[in-house]
Each structure stands twice: as C-alpha cells, then as structure tokens.
C-alpha cells in the first residue's frame, strides 16, 4: 500500500478557523503513536465555508473532510488512517461518491488556482512536480523569442484581472517597445477591495506561479528587476512569498545568469504596503514603491514608457501573473477555449455575504451570476430572498436580482453599471439596505481619497453627508438629484480610477433601488429594516414569557426584567443589533 497523505488547508482563513491547532494535533498523534503517514500543509482549497479542511489521500482516492475539530480529527485518524475506513459523515468532497457539496465544485475550471490547496506552497519541489517552472524552461529550451511570448499572451485573450480588464499582451508589447537599459516588472498585490481575497489565496497557496509569471513577463519585455507590492495586512502571504523567493534564488531561478542562461539577470523583492487603498492605482503604487505618498499622477506618460524610477515598467495583478505560466506551457488555445468572445479564460470570484457556501470559485467567463450564486454558492443564507449582488467593490455597483442572468464577462457587467473589478462578489438579501450599502462604500472612498483632486476630495464628502442624512431619516426632496449631479461631476473631474468610479455604488443603487431612497426620504422608513435611526425594538408584553433568552444574548445588556416577568428594552442603551428579535421563540419582540 502506498503511504497515506494528509493535507491540512493552512491559508489565512483556514488558520482563522483553527486549522493550525488541527495540524499540531495530527502531528502530535503521529509522533505519539508512531503512525506511518505523510503530513503536509497546503493553501486555500476554496471551500472556505467548510474550514478547517483536511484532505486524506490513500490508495483508493482522495477524501476531503470539512469543519474539522478535535473530536472529528481523532475519529478520522482512528478509523480512516488506522483501519482504512473513511468517516462518511464528515466528508465534503470525494471523487468516489456523490456529496451535497458537489455542485460547489462542479463546472469550476481551475487555472489560476490550479495548485491552491493541492501543493505545499512552502516547498518549491512540489510546485515543480506539478509542472511548475516548465513554462520558463520551455521558452529557453526552444529559443522562443520575446515577440512570440507576447503574441501568445495576446492570442490567449488574457485581460488584466485586477479590475481594469486591459489586454495583458498589449501591455507587455508597449513595455517591450520602450527602449531602455533598465525596465521593471511590478506585481500589484495591493488587494484593497474590501470583500475580495483571491489574490491573497493565490499568494498564500501558490506563490511560485506568481514568480514564474513575473519571470516570463521579465523575459518578454526585457526587465531586470521585479517588485511585488503586497498589502501589509497579509502577513502570511508576505512570509510565503519571501520563502518562495529564497528557494528560487537557491535554485538559480532568480538572481544572476538565471536558468543557466548567461547574461539573463532578474530578481524580485517584496515591498510591503502601508495601508492605502489608492495604492492599487498603478501610478500611486509606483510613488509608494519610491517611498512617497501614494498619490496618482497624470497619464501619459504611461508606466510602459516612464514608470518606476522613470524607467519603462509593466504592472500586472497577482491573478494575471498566475495565469501566465499555464498559458505559455499549454498554448494560447488552452486558455481562450474558455470564455466569451471578448472575455477569455476563467475568473476567480470571492463569494461572500449572505450566501450559504462562501469561498473561492474559479469559473469560465460567460456563466451567469445566478449560476454562481445558486449553483456554486447554494443560494441565500436562511433561504431568504436574494436581493442584489455587489461586484467590483467600492468602484463597482449593485446588480439587482432581476438581472441575475447577466453573464460574467467584462462588457456585460459594465453594461449594468457595475464593473468586473478584482472579483469580489458580495451577496445581499432582503435585510440589506441599499442606501446604507451606498453610504458604506462612500464612507470608504471618502476616507481613501488621496485628496489631490478637488471633486474627489470634497465631492465624496458631500455625497457621504447626504447619504448619511438619508439613512438617519433627515433626507430632503431633491437629495437624489443632488447625489446624481455630484456623482457625474466627480466622475468627470477626477484623475484616477478611484475618483472616476467612486460614485458607482451610489449611481447603481439609485438606478435599481430608487424606491428605497424615496422610502427613506419621504416616509422616513427603511424597507430593509436595517437603518438604526429608523427602527426600534420593543417587547410585546402580551407575548413575552419572561424566559430571559433576549436579556442573556443582548451584547450591551440593554434588556432587563425578572424571570417570568415581562422584559424591557432600554432604548438609550440598545444598539439595534436585532439579536433579541432573532433569538425570541415567542415572537415577543416587535420591530417597527
């Protein structure tokens, strides 16, 4: 019998769910009982809603166990490892028989995520065994020219996965055409969109694919230095990147005369961001790498002509780079056979919010939003009504339920008023207030505006004030029109993408949910019953049995009352979280 292998998903979300403790526990049992199996770490499997995840591979196949705790792991070791009998009730995925979670994985095509959750990201040999670094070697062994590599990327139809959607191959061509003794490759890993985490998962789960993608880009445009600009909020990603860089240097894949090719020098270092959303914009990012405030500048000149330290620079996003080795190794066709006419390949989405199965899904472009939410995501939590989905974060917009058939490709999504963005997909149900959502994003962009352009700096602040007063029941007639006017002015007079797209969440919610704005302004009501100033929770004395459940669960102790007596909510203290409402078994809490 082949040796049994146990993989533990140790990306940030797995660790947050307690996977480290599970790993230690397995390791301790292995040591104590001198068991014969291989224990290894891996990245994000993508089924975040089942974390912590443990995969057992034996000679019959692979078994993925979910929601592992101390009890479950002990049982799995006792039964599966020692007697070879899988513990069926904890299995979330296996090829051997059907599971309820199969629809989550079915129809996913993993290209960018091909190694995530499969290999140990801290061991370069595992990446190589999975076909890693073969793409660079293919280029060198066959003397493929720079132009041919660029043409392959153009033919593949790969477009920037960071949000802009600019054709990657063309970008490389511009940088290739710029003559200079020094050129730079930058990987944009400043994943600032709140609600997106696919780049983090790739960096934590498969850092070498990004390094290889950057190396290929460096070869194509003739760059000698690479920089990965990574958010400081991703300590694990930074750690694994640095491990991967050290291993690559030791193998001669980074540094001087790399891959044994005389005169080919290319090295990469990681540059930690310091917390500024605007640094996702390429000119701001370069200013930040140079050690200055991350403020965007006018283009042209474009980075391909004058970028970092005024040298030609090519900037791509993490997911874009992760796709590159696959395309070069397997040919443009292996990628462009997926997708629609103008949006080729696959896209990773981070599915979150009021969804049953949240996590990372990689699907071919062109499938509908509805399929992602209901087939992969399993529908809405608590089977509530699906209301809208937010795409593209603070730069994007809300797509309402009746447009859920919209296919995910750059152009179809743009037509709704949202943008593809980096792939954050936040699902909302009937209890989410759309005016509050718009206010939330404006609050974010207002804080993150660098302050350079007047309309972005002051306009977003004025818009936020108007939205705040609408949410508080102080809205006035004409506020909606005022918001729209400001929105268009900000879009027209801002220098960078942040300002140009900041009003999108407001414009799309006005477009699709104007009635909610009107209800707030005219009737002083929040239809979703979410805006705090417009709702109150009270106890219905006729129904209250004095069971004390509400008082016990109130996080701020706003509820008082003796056992078996009618309880009372102190409105001064109440933070309107709604816990009492959802916990009461007797429907004795009124929401008005």
């Amino acid at each position: 019998m082949e040796q049994i292998k146990i993989l533990v998903g140790l990306a940030s979300c797995g660790i947050a769910a307690g996977a480290n403790k599970i790993y230690e526990k397995i390791s301790a049992i292995k040591e104590q009982e001198k068991l014969n199996f291989e224990l290894t770490k891996t990245g994000c499997v993508g089924m975040c809603y089942r974390e912590p995840l443990v995969e057992v591979i034996d000679d019959t196949g692979s078994y993925l166990y979910g929601e592992i705790d101390d009890v479950r792991i002990t049982e799995i070791i006792e039964k599966h490892i020692k007697t070879g009998e899988p513990v069926k009730e904890y299995i979330v995925k296996t090829d051997l028989f059907e599971n309820e979670d199969d629809s989550y994985c079915k129809n996913q095509v993993k290209i960018a995520l091909r190694n995530c959750g499969v290999i140990n990201p801290e061991v370069i040999e595992e990446y190589e065994n999975a076909g890693g670094y073969l793409a660079v070697k293919k280029i060198l062994n066959n003397n493929i020219s720079q132009e041919t590599v660029i043409q392959t990327i153009i033919d593949s139809g790969l477009r920037g996965r960071g949000g802009g959607g600019f054709p990657t191959g063309l970008k490389w061509k511009f940088a290739f055409n710029s003559k200079s003794d020094e050129k730079y490759i930058i990987c944009n890993a400043d994943e600032g969109d709140p609600g997106a985490f696919m780049d983090r998962s790739v960096l934590e789960g498969d850092p070498h694919s990004v390094l290889e993608g950057m190396t290929i880009a460096a070869y194509a445009i003739g760059a000698t230095q690479g920089v990965i600009y990574c958010r400081a909020e991703y300590p694990l990603a930074i750690k694994r990147l640095n491990i991967a860089i050290d291993q690559s240097r030791a193998k001669g894949y980074l540094g001087k005369d790399i891959y044994g090719k005389k005169g080919w020098n290319f090295d990469i270092y990681v540059k930690e961001g310091a917390g500024a959303f605007v640094c996702g914009e390429e000119t701001a990012l370069m200013a930040s790498v140079e050690g200055r405030r991350g403020m965007p500048r006018k283009r042209p000149p474009f980075p391909a002509v004058s970028g970092l330290w005024k040298k030609p620079t090519n900037i791509n996003n993490v997911e874009t780079f992760a796709n590159v080795p696959y395309i070069v190794l397997n040919g443009a066709q292996s990628f462009n056979k997926y997708g629609t006419e103008k949006s080729k390949g696959t896209k990773v989405f981070a599915l979150t919010g009021k969804i049953k199965r949240g996590g990372l899904v990689e699907v071919p472009m062109g499938i509908s939003i509805k399929d992602i939410i209901f087939k992969h995501g399993g529908g809405i939590q608590g089977d509530k009504k699906f209301k809208a989905v937010q795409l593209g974060g603070p730069s994007g917009g809300c797509i309402p339920d009746y447009l859920a058939e919209t296919p995910v490709d750059y152009d179809s999504i743009l037509a709704t008023g949202a943008i593809m963005g980096s792939g954050g997909m936040v699902v909302m149900d009937e209890t989410t207030c759309m005016v509050d959502m718009a206010r939330f994003f404006l609050d974010f962009t207002q804080k993150e505006s660098c302050g350079k352009c007047t309309f972005c700096r002051i306009g977003t602040k004025r818009m936020l004030e108007i939205l705040t007063r609408i949410c508080e029941g102080e809205g006035k007639e004409g506020d909606i029109e005022l918001l729209e006017e400001l929105a268009y002015q900000i879009k027209d007079s801002s220098l960078c993408g942040l300002g140009q797209t900041a009003p999108n969440p407001v414009l799309t919610t006005i477009k699709y949910f104007r009635n909610e704005y009107e209800a707030h302004i005219r009737d002083k009501k929040c239809p979703a019953k979410s805006c705090k100033k417009l709702i109150t929770y009270t106890v219905n004395p006729e129904k209250c049995t004095g069971c004390t459940v509400c008082a016990k669960n109130c996080p701020v102790n706003a509820i008082s009352g003796e056992r078996k007596q009618v309880h009372f909510i102190d409105q001064e203290v109440c933070i309107k979280c709604g816990v009492c409402f959802s916990k009461c078994k007797f429907e004795a809490i009124n929401l008005s």
């Binding site: 940030s12 979300c13 660790i15 947050a16 769910a17 975040c48 809603y49 974390e51 600032g192 709140p194 609600g195 997106a196 985490f197 983090r200 400081a232 909020e233 991703y234 300590p235 930690e272 961001g273 310091a274 917390g275 500024a276 959303f277 605007v278 140079e290 050690g291 200055r292 405030r293 991350g294 330290w309 981070a350 979150t352 919010g353 009021k354 949240g358 996590g359 937010q390 954050g424 936040v426 909302m428 989410t432 959502m437 939330f440 994003f441 974010f444 207002q446 804080k447 993150e448 505006s449 660098c450 302050g451 700096r457 602040k461 669960n553 996080p555 701020v556 933070i575 979280c577 816990v579």
Partner: protein
C-alpha cells in the same frame, strides 16, 4: 481624505522619553538606499509600536530625508501611528462582507464592553481597538483580529467573550 492633520496643541504631547539608541540599527540597515522612507518608518514602528516624535528628528538628521517628507508619509498611510498604543491591538474588520454581516454591532459591543471609543486605548493599556478596511477573511465574516490571531463568525456577544477571554489568557 487620507491625510490626517495634527493639531498644533497635540504636537508636543508625545515627546515622552524613548530609547533612541535602538534606531541606530535601522538607520544602518537602510543607509544610502533609495525609496526607503516607508520601510524605515515601518521598522521604527516595529520597535516602538508607534512613531515617537523624537524619532523623526533623529531619522531626518541621519538619513537626510526632510522631516516634512517623513511626516507627509507617516500621516498618509493608515498603518502609521503617532501615538503610543496598548499592549494588544484589536482590529475590527469593516470590509463589505463583514459590514453586510453586522460589523457595526461587533464594534459597538466591543467598545461598549471596554468603555472606549474607536481608535482609543483602554485605561489599563491592554487593548487598542481600531476599525480596519478588510482582513481578507471574508468567508468567516464578521471577523476581528487580535494582534495576528483572527476570530471569525462572531456575534456581538461572542466578540465580547473573545476579548475577555483573550485578556484573561494573556494577562499573566
């Protein structure tokens, strides 16, 4: 807007005594390199937990970077702090997914329990609580992070319990 303005009357109040000799190694490490402003400030904050006012004077003198530039960068990025912080930092995630799942309630419950406002430090100096944009653990929303440890799928009540238990565990 990103840039914080420091009121004149507050400028002097963090001139407390700090051991500046620890800065020598930082200055040595980054000497004569380009684009070092952010990494230098990050290294300084790593030592003290914040950026002491006196460190700016010394850094400017030794590295030749203008004080205005150092302050400009320090007040631009969310990561940098100009005031001392508590022993442990609680970051309450206010990303989109956490917002939809009730991040405001988490913040309010924690702040109410600790009797402080957002961004403040508890009187015993144990916790500083701050709201952050996104910790990237959206599938576990709502989440908080205490130092480097993430806690997910919280409610107001369980968040307060986590805070209390963490303090009991780490108080000795």
């Amino acid at each position: 807007m990103r840039i914080q303005r420091i009121a004149i009357e507050n400028r002097e109040d963090n001139l407390e005594e700090v051991d500046l000799s620890q800065l020598d190694s930082v200055i040595e490490k980054f000497k004569n390199k380009k684009g070092i402003t952010i990494p230098v400030l990050q290294a300084v904050q790593q030592i003290y937990g914040y950026l002491p006012a006196k460190a700016f004077d010394l850094l400017s003198e030794k590295t030749g970077i203008k004080k205005s530039e150092l302050y400009g960068v320090a007040t631009f990025y969310a990561q940098f702090r100009l005031k001392p912080v508590g022993k442990h930092i609680v970051k309450v995630c206010h990303g989109t997914a956490c917002h939809v799942q009730g991040a405001n309630i988490i913040s309010e419950s924690i702040l109410e329990a600790l009797k402080i406002a957002d961004g403040e430090t508890t009187t015993d100096g144990f916790y500083t609580v701050e709201s952050v944009a996104c910790l990237g653990c959206c599938s576990l929303a709502p989440v908080i992070m205490i130092d480097d440890e993430v806690f997910g799928k919280l409610s107001g009540k369980t968040a307060v319990n986590v805070i209390k238990e963490y303090q009991l565990k780490h108080n000795n």
